[in-house]
Symmetry: D3
């Protein structure tokens, strides 16, 4: 390829990539000065919240009795700054108002929401303590609570979920989803921030778990890796688009255990105290205290000449 050809090829490609007619879907044309959500800052926010909730575990500094309050004060201050920025970015992203100065319009709301979220941190901590305790109780391999807080991916995923859920309750767009997807990427646990989850929630191993957006999960529920709490299907409107906002995921009542790989689909109810076996496929409601397993003797066969 001559240098001339090379230059031409690149130049033509740049033209094609800059052609506005190809920008219908792909380009996000925000105005100058409007903030974009920043993955890096959201990561910082999540780490800061984790440090606030579990002081001494994730920070870089040793805590002394006299100094904890100071650390809380500083972390809360820094969190407020970062979080109100990201909330603002979320509000601007969704805002369709073409004429307004979006930053000016949404800044006060972003600040109020940030304060509101911070006020809920003690409650989020209280719930997470129940999750940590339940996880420790349920796992014979756990040596102590510290190991659970430090190492367990489920605690990480549930922490992100509880943050994201509160932000979504406060009507923050986009940011909750980001925070949930961060945990999804790190742990393979995909909890939609709109799902409602009670206390003392535990997930073991966790990879492949999916909890859909309209799920309602009670207290003291335990699920294993690969469990899906999903939708069966969803009604379409007259244009063939899915109708949004209809409850379409399961209700899981208190004290339920769901073993690995089970698939539970649709707006059904798994009754209090039930146990769902591994790899089971459930699309109907189950009464309380049921034990549901694969009729495994039927489905497994010894075969001599296996073709696999």
């Amino acid at each position: 390829m001559t240098i001339q050809e090379f230059d031409n090829k690149l130049a033509q490609t740049i033209e094609r990539l800059s052609d506005p007619s190809t920008y219908d879907v792909v380009c996000y044309e925000h105005r100058m000065g409007e903030p974009l959500p920043s993955i890096a800052k959201l990561k910082k926010i999540v780490n800061m919240v984790r440090e606030i909730l579990f002081p001494g575990y994730f920070g870089s500094t040793s805590l002394r009795p006299n100094s904890t309050r100071h650390y809380m004060g500083v972390y809360v201050d820094e969190l407020y700054e970062l979080l109100s920025q990201e909330i603002l970015a979320g509000l601007c992203f969704e805002c369709q108002d073409k004429r307004a100065d979006k930053v000016k319009k949404h800044t006060p709301k972003a600040k109020d929401i940030a304060v509101n979220f911070i006020e809920h941190l003690p409650e989020i901590r209280r719930k997470l303590v129940t999750d940590v305790n339940a996880t420790y109780q349920n796992d014979p391999a756990a040596k102590n609570l510290g190991e659970v807080i430090f190492c367990y991916p489920a605690i990480r995923a549930i922490t992100n979920y509880r943050m994201a859920h509160k932000l979504l309750e406060l009507n923050v767009p986009l940011i909750p989803r980001f925070i949930a997807e961060m945990a999804h990427s790190e742990t393979g646990i995909d909890i939609h921030p709109r799902a409602q989850i009670g206390e003392s929630f535990t997930i073991d191993h966790g990879t492949g778990v999916v909890i859909g957006s309209t799920c309602i999960i009670g207290n003291n529920v335990k699920i294993y890796q690969g469990v899906t709490l999903g939708a069966k299907s969803f009604p379409l409107d007259e244009n063939g688009n899915p109708i949004k906002g209809i409850p379409r995921h399961p209700i899981v009542e208190d004290d339920v255990v769901i073993y690995s790989g089970a698939t539970i689909l649709g707006r059904i109810t798994i009754g209090k105290g039930s146990v769902i076996g591994g790899n089971v496929w459930v699309t109907n409601s189950i009464p309380p205290n049921s034990k549901l397993v694969q009729s495994r003797h039927k489905e497994v066969a010894f075969i001599d000449g296996l073709g696999i």
Copy 2:
């Protein structure tokens, strides 16, 4: 342990670790100056391509109507530099020629391939737009196209796949696999870059999806988390080594939906418009418009005294 013992132990271990006879497999003895593929640079390349394909979403700068072309120009320029380096690294890695100056030998080819790849970016963008639109249509939880582009792991995985596939078509060794594994690590979605996938492709949740190297997937296909499109077995040659390059993964025709956890194995065909239910195991071809589910009433049992 005395300091003497300590020093001896470390010294002996260093000797053992440096023993060339242990290097048969583990050591990659490239010559000085030959580039190694760099994960950090490949990450930068993927981010740059993402910024080029979806301008305004992932970059650090706000776009104005007048300035988009400049950004495209600069990104293409930087991409060319980085990409030709990494392609060169891939070519050198695979090259068995012990005597040649590999860098000199492969540099022109690496540059040509980089230009070629860049020329295909508009086409890759066009296909990804179909994927984004299909994802939005198919997910009642998606608020807008922006959220899909920003947050959905499947879009991230499919973007990497479409990049990696094109590089593999251009005969770049090693690099496509790296790019695919990046997405695998981030999203739990494992698409072999050699697979052929049509337009308007959607993956929901995605963790645990496996799409094998000889798969052929049509347009408008949707699959859920935990779906395997795998090989049943593979013929061995006379030395007991697997014979490479034989088609051994499924063909999935247009408009097929495959629900979570389904396992589809071997060079079989899932006919156009079929629906495969969750957790199903399929090893035979299925005619068009089939609906295949677990015969779930049979396999599930209510048991009082469950042993699990």
Copy 3:
């Protein structure tokens, strides 16, 4: 919200977050100067070990025949420094002794363990070579050994496992779990560091694999994505807490293959040379050379009007 209200809200939240009565579970009150395990340093350690085991693949420098020994020397030296620090952090974390100067108490032990671990690196390398070779033999898509070492997530997971397992044998608390969870996060493969795994071990794709803490796996075993080697249930003590340390996961003998999504639970034995089909649920021991698959014709139904 007035500035006054704003200040009050933040101040009250800081008080609530600093209330020692809420610190029962969540706060790790280590004394000043005691090291905390550092994820960043553990990542560095894992990368350093990977560079030592597979010289030339992951480092930033080209190797020449004369210089390999120098690199090994420096890497071992740096590894010793970093690793003894992290081991010390683990020992301090678990130590309940309230009065002792933990750093002083555990430093010599931490150093001894670090040396001990380093002495086992050649043996770890030897085992990993068997894993790499087996992976290459078993995957028709693998082009060469280098690709396997460079790109395959399973090799990454098994490397972390073999490191973590050795550290756990040397009675290091916490750190092995961290190292295992790193691989879990990157690859979706969750191998408990206490599991015992033989040579020539391969995992294909890997996402969703779970290998429990009391598993015993022989040589030349291959498993696919989504396979669970788990516990069925665990006996509780009189207080309702799980009894720790009882064998409760499967024994998998030599030459076994387990296909994707299979769930094998409890202290059962999968006999030598057996093949377990995909998505199968196994809770009883299986004799050698068995072939076990889903009785798939029974469980799959063609349905016209699918309700999913």
Copy 4:
């Protein structure tokens, strides 16, 4: 020291450091959300301007004929973003208005100034080219123009000066001083941004050069290291404070050379074409074409028994 004593001492010190009565001078109490000037961002701005002015020298990317315009476009865009932020920070810093929302008040002005500054970049480049040419002409050790642009601290200092001077002309507070002090720290050359300096200006070596705020320097002037163009004294007002804004530094006309260590003080004029010798102390005006040196034979003595 007991832990109790230790804690008390730190706690008391924290109280003393937090005592608002000690904050009279030392504390900058800006309101939340108001930007502070950022040294890191100003460094980025200076580097970006340098890259714009001397394309190809300081950037990380190779330039091709077709691509320069794209780079200019992107750099200008990024510069605008960063610079308007820092100008805003400067305007807020100086603004005494206690009640206003300073960010809102000053943002439009900050943006206008940033655009204004950018419009002057071609003129700044034109002047710097004259400085570079003059430096090359005047230094027998300079191999080529590239070396001058790349390595000469004087070019770096004059670049910062020309930027800072323009910003100060545009009434930006604080930021010009920062930019000047950056160059001062890097090069030891201290040019006040308010000084007026003509074209083809050269400084050799430069360390210790001081050019005061009301200096006026013509075209084609050359000065050496350690030269001071300073003030003799300054009149005080009735409160004993220095009266600001009175011309009190020298006027140096065209084509003057001032050798190392010369000290020129007060609102005097060094006439066109004059040469001032090294280490000379000048406090009176000098007519054009003067040659002024130390009467060196008088002041130097050979002494046998030196007391130094």
Copy 5:
């Protein structure tokens, strides 16, 4: 050069560089685990102290009335950690005891000194406020106190000096010198940490200022760039080595002004209220209220044909 020759040359050079006989002076053989002073950490310490002394100026966070105490608390805590480490490094560096575990031996002392230093921070702040005020009073170009604190290199240099001086008073080896040299490198102002300097001290421009180790400087002294307060000569002992610790630098009494480039050498006294002109060379004591200048008419000559 053949690869063989190349390898040999490098190998031989490595041998020569590793030859212990060449290590007499150049090698610092500290034992494993002993900390080395870290420039990066010392920079962090200096920045932290600057943030503590001038809250709101240098930190990354906005201060609110309620939150300042928290920031002080956290900064003091972090400072204590970092500083006691660096002090320990300094103590170990100087300690000649070959047998002791230096870390163990010096740790308590290092911690005590760190607390001691922190207790002096309010006093250091008080003195710096006098310096800032004096600088503002003395410079007609200074717009406000904030500009002085933010931008003036002299304040930076004096801050480092006041820190370093206190550490040296507390008998910390090496570290004070490092801190002083940092300021020297940034500002060109070289103040030996052992010098004693009163309140309301100002340095204008500053590059080239040297203040020797046994200087005593009163209150309200102002000096300009290039001023040397140095030693004339120093007595040697019988071995020809300089005798350490003898006063050999000037005493400068209150209210003295010294203009640029003046050189004042030896243990002489510059009397209260004196003014020393620029470029003057002084080696004898000067009575109070003296005005000393170059007899400039004598030493300057107009020359037509200048040879320079």
Copy 6:
């Protein structure tokens, strides 16, 4: 300013900045793929050399007797890689050959020079040891050799000089000047890499020292801050350009001491053992063992009403 105006102004400025006719001097149009000298890499090179020359002082790792050779081996290897790259960048920068592939043309030469330079490191170390010893002997404030190596800016400047001088002897363009300017920026000491400097060289304080490119300095010379060894003037060729390469700076023979602020100009000789006093201006040769000072009683006057 309307958005339209704003866009137009930026667009016009971009056009003006991209106008090739303004690129005569300012643009460095290297071809794609040609390396540019990298300040960041040169800093790394200098730090690496410092670590090699003074093992244990600047590195991040503790040295043990057994491990020094390994560190030397690795540092030399890494230095070779980095240095040959930068030398190549320098060679390409100066090369005027428009048609050649400069990288290909100069790579072998760059590698040879890098090896050559590395071979001289032991000799550079030997000379620096003499400098360190002399510095310690000459400074009563120096506590030990370690402090000199660690903290003294002169050692830093002389180290860079000795590196740069050797590279210049090996005909490397541009890079030596960069390395010298780094030290100049950090220390205020400006030594031209072409100057020839003997052993046991010491500089005290150093800020403002200038040593010109054709200086020849003997052994055991000591100079203080602000000393200039410069050129008086330089002959011009028929075009008025300075004639390059003519000796025009002083020769300073062995055992000379030059006090602060002295200015020594032209190709004169300062005879062996001479002492030059502070602030003296010398433009004629001085015989051996001279003592030269300002006739200070003459030039200093006590004045009552000082006009400064």
